[in-house]
């Protein structure tokens, strides 16, 4: 699942919950699913950030004098 797909699903879940038309059991399930998606998205962002910083560091050290 790509970051964008996960984010999209998360946002739909939030909207659904905020509309308040979900059953209680369903709402709990949606919430759990939302938390799961959030964790996944944060993980992907952290990985991307790590990669960017690594590249920036490498580019900086490879700079010609």
């Amino acid at each position: 699942m790509t970051f964008e797909e996960a984010q999209h699903e998360l946002e739909q879940i939030v909207e659904r919950l905020e509309r308040g038309d979900a059953g209680l059991d369903e709402a709990i399930k949606l919430w759990e699913r939302g938390e799961e998606l959030y964790k996944q998205c944060v993980g992907q962002l952290d990985a991307a950030q790590g990669k960017i910083e690594e590249l920036a560091r490498r580019a900086e050290s490879a700079k010609p004098a």
Binding site: L10, E11, L17, E18, L24, Y38, L45, A48, I52, A59
Partner: protein
């Protein structure tokens, strides 16, 4: 003069002398005319009666011998140099002793500035009509090798080389030194141009010369050179240092620079500026990547915040609805009726709905608005 033929049977035969005389006689009837060309091989000797030179057509090299009486030539005080363009006024003549055809000059006029300008303008119109000035090949961004055609000790050469090296130290240059003024300049420059183009890897050529007088720069308007530039296999940058009287080579070249230094700037990029630009791009790249990430993260956190609040909100809302229902439930319960003065009578566990359901002496249970009590049926 009478030309006599010798009769051999029915064949008429002329002696060489009489043939020459006959032709000379015919030629002498032609009118005097003006002929234009370049002076070459001028020979003047104080002991000779005549001065000799060859008049050459600069466009195709056709030649014509010219003689002029020495006294007449000296009186003109022309001080003609080799390759100089002139108008010669005279008539065709055959030198009978040698059978030499030539132009007997009566007067010579140096080709003046006005003539040059007029000739240049005509040539310009002609070449423009042929589309010779329309080529504009793009210059390579980073030339593999640069060909430089220039004078052999010219400041122009130094300017081009210094500027190229300063801007792009790794540039490779092949230099062809050549005449850049005088009668042989045009052909010499064409040879030099072909020479550098033939050198391996050359993908752009600079033709450079510092400023000069109008006459000095004439070879740069030579038709053959102009055509050679227009058909050169690689792009040509013309840098003939003169703002006015733009030489025709400038019009045919793929790019034109006002000075040799400017030409150098056209053919190579500034290496340090390139590096700076790359550095800026790289910094912007990192900034851009971080920015994208940051925006994603903020959006994600906003979603998460809403998600975090959502279940409590949902439970809250359900609880409120529940309370509301409970309220209504309570309103609908019989207790409210009891409070208005009614009572519920139970016998054992059953509600008493009929007087027949109880008999005298039965113990009953009465419920009223604020509680219950025991009673006995009379």
């Amino acid at each position: 003069m009478k030309v006599e033929a010798i009769q051999y049977g029915d064949r008429k035969v002329y002696t060489v002398a009489s043939f020459n005389r006959g032709v000379a006689d015919w030629l002498s009837r032609l009118p005097t005319i003006w002929v234009e060309g370049e002076v070459t091989e001028l020979r003047r000797n104080a002991r000779w009666q005549s001065v000799f030179f060859t008049l050459k057509d600069p466009s195709d090299g056709a030649c014509l011998g010219v003689t002029i009486a020495r006294s007449r030539f000296d009186a003109l005080r022309l001080d003609l140099g080799d390759g100089e363009r002139v108008h010669v006024f005279g008539r065709p003549e055959l030198f009978e002793a040698k059978g030499d055809f030539r132009l007997r000059a009566l007067s010579i006029e140096r080709f003046g500035l006005g003539d040059h300008l007029a000739a240049l303008e005509r040539l310009k119109q002609k070449l423009a009509a042929e589309g010779v000035f329309e080529r504009r090949l793009p210059l390579p961004f980073l030339p593999k090798r640069i060909g430089l055609v220039t004078g052999n000790d010219a400041a122009a050469k130094r300017d081009v080389l210094t500027t190229i090296t300063a801007r792009f130290p790794a540039a490779r240059i092949v230099v062809a030194e050549t005449y850049v003024q005088g009668p042989f300049a045009a052909t010499a420059m064409i040879d030099a141009l072909r020479g550098v183009c033939a050198a391996p890897d050359v993908d752009v050529v600079v033709l450079a010369r510092g400023g000069g007088s109008f006459e000095d720069l004439l070879p740069f308007s030579d038709e053959r050179l102009v055509r050679a530039i227009a058909t050169c296999p690689v792009p040509v940058v013309s840098a003939v240092g003169h703002e006015q009287d733009m030489p025709l080579c400038d019009l045919a070249a793929d790019a034109r620079a006002s000075t040799p230094t400017a030409a150098a700037r056209l053919v190579v990029p500034d290496a340090s500026e390139l590096v700076n630009r790359l550095d800026r791009s790289r910094a912007a790249l990192a900034r851009g990547a971080r920015g994208v990430l940051e925006r994603r993260r903020q959006r994600l956190e906003r979603s998460h915040e809403r998600l975090r609040r959502a279940p409590a909100l949902a439970v809250e809302r359900k609880r409120a609805r529940l309370e509301h229902s409970a309220g209504r439930l309570r309103t609908l319960s019989p207790r409210a009726t009891l409070e208005r003065g009614y009572a519920i009578v139970r016998s054992g566990d059953a509600i008493v709905r009929s007087s027949a359901a109880v008999a005298s002496g039965d113990a009953i249970d009465v419920e009223v608005g604020d509680g219950r009590f025991e009673a006995r049926v009379e």
